[in-house]
Symmetry: C2
Subunit: 404 residues, 2 copies
Amino acid sequence: MPSPPPERPLGTDKIDWPLRPDLAFLNHGSFGSVPAPLQKAYDGHRAVLEADPIEMVGRRCEGLLASVRSRLGHFLGADAAAVGLVTNASSGVGAVIRSIPLSPGARMVTTTHVYNAVRMAMKHRAFELGGTVEEIELPLQATHPLHLTPLLEAIGRDAPPGLVIVDHVTSPTAAVLDVATVVAACRERGVPVLVDGAHAPGMLELNLGELDADWYTGNLHKWTCTPKGCGFLYASERVRGITHPETISHNLGQGFDREFAWQGTRDLAAWLTIPDALDFWDSIGADQVREHNHALCRAGKELLEEAWGVAPIQSPGRDAMGSMAIVALPESIQGQCATPDALMVHLHDVHHVEVPVIEWKGAWHVRISAHVHNRLADYERLAGAVRASLMARREQVSSVPAPA
Amino acid sequence: MPSPPPERPLGTDKIDWPLRPDLAFLNHGSFGSVPAPLQKAYDGHRAVLEADPIEMVGRRCEGLLASVRSRLGHFLGADAAAVGLVTNASSGVGAVIRSIPLSPGARMVTTTHVYNAVRMAMKHRAFELGGTVEEIELPLQATHPLHLTPLLEAIGRDAPPGLVIVDHVTSPTAAVLDVATVVAACRERGVPVLVDGAHAPGMLELNLGELDADWYTGNLHKWTCTPKGCGFLYASERVRGITHPETISHNLGQGFDREFAWQGTRDLAAWLTIPDALDFWDSIGADQVREHNHALCRAGKELLEEAWGVAPIQSPGRDAMGSMAIVALPESIQGQCATPDALMVHLHDVHHVEVPVIEWKGAWHVRISAHVHNRLADYERLAGAVRASLMARREQVSSVPAPA
């Protein structure tokens, strides 16, 4: 029996989302849209900046960003001084990979669940250095502490890695990893560790000060619904002095906070909307929103598993699953559609369901998301769309790549 | 006798600018504001993206950006395939500095007029490599081809530089440099050359294909008035294969165009407004706008020189000056104000004049700009504000840094 749909947090029914009303949007995990009150806040910041551009974007930039970082630090459980703003988590990862002094031949370690863009950034740096990237194989659902043993073993080897990157919530497989254990193992061995928390803020409760990774990067344009282009990089005091943004500018050598506060002319209004977004979710109840999204995701996952007659993959506990889940597709769907991307496009274009289709060791899955605009009917639509596709003749939709 | 104010291009009077109406805004060179029709175009793109986010920002991204690059290439006199989008010229410079394979100990060459953020990026890379940055001293107005002789000599030395960076329009000194001569000298010696054209698009007519530098970077949020966060990097066919964006992502190794088309989740709407901005200025007459801005800048410059009784610095010819100019401040102003930044803040806060104050070899200057929203009265206001400041008691305004 699928779980019942959870009660919706008070006030979330009234949020005006700009999403197409005919779309079952089940990919908030990649990115969603900006609710009307936050769009309005953004427009307000923009109007203020545009009226007096040099004063606001130039001279007052650092002061304005200091209050953004203070509010964001409070949300993340981190000192404001530890937080720099970036466009997205990929840029946070890039900043770390570029900043850390790696020796020629250095070994970087991650897992097979690494986000593909991060894999590419690691490979690129390894190529420059004549180094290597080692991807530790973890099972599909690596959410039990014991599953991390191979990774801990790689961290503990005699020649320690030059850098470890581990995901807080894995992108292709939606698993919440026990990053505290990985960070502790790295800290014990003196191995630099970056947690890629791209999907975590707004999905999991964070306390970065307590986690005490060397670096942690994340996005605010996913679950906290800021305008796109809002990411952050947390740097512990140990590494703050060596950590530079990807775009080097005027403030080089003046400290982490000043270097990240000016990365060339850019849209400051998006970053200024971060406190509005955090306050917005607090006014509704950020805890209730997270709990609702988790419970709805679980209900959606169970509904799909029952509808398709597939075995559950993901443990639905709060420690192992946030507000994304992966569900195996019926095997026979692979006979109906040329590629996972073609199925994704077909579901969007024909059935008005947006959901990523992910191949993992040859098997196809959907990665569903749940935010407060979602209803159980969205997952029912997905269930029916896949059943309908199973009965249709083989689609020959061309493959279109999509970032996940 | 100052030149008379030029006739304004037809239709420019009707443009609605969001600038504070009480502000004489003379720093369009750093960045200005987005006129209402382009703000509207931006809002329109944003609404379309937010309604169907994964479809538009994810799957259709490359196609949408291909048409942006095609329109932009036409504007720049370059193949669409040669143009990648970046947040700003600093990020374009960073991409080149990171991409070019420099040997340990490499010598990078630029001039003393280099933009300070670029200086920092060069120093940072030199520090990593154990290399050096050589700044060739050029006179304050280096607009005669003969002035470039020391730079050409540095390019021609027996041990050629690993990279030359030369400004098309210098930031601190507003000089238009003869970059064609510098590029030709580099090409002849096989020295990689990047032209920093941050200030050029919309100020000068560009034909990047003909110039044939290895790289050319520029901003569109200055003189073409797009939303902030719109820059480009041109890469000649020779270097396209080795040129990567600062943020490495999914498309690494898939070619220049695909790599720059996805640099992580960001505000695509700003980039989509680039064709609107170029069409907007074409509908008015981009040539007339450039000529007007040049002529108004010249008139403003002459007005200030006469009002302050200072000798002209900049040659007002079209080859040496675009729509920015520097004018020496009366020497005695340095006795009235603690720092150039303090004077800039004073002019803004007290006199509602926005203009950068620049120190060059101990002497203070203003760098004025002219765009179609400016009137001769703006320069008169600046002239009077400085005269009034000369008569006031010494101001003790605290120094505030500002990007130029």
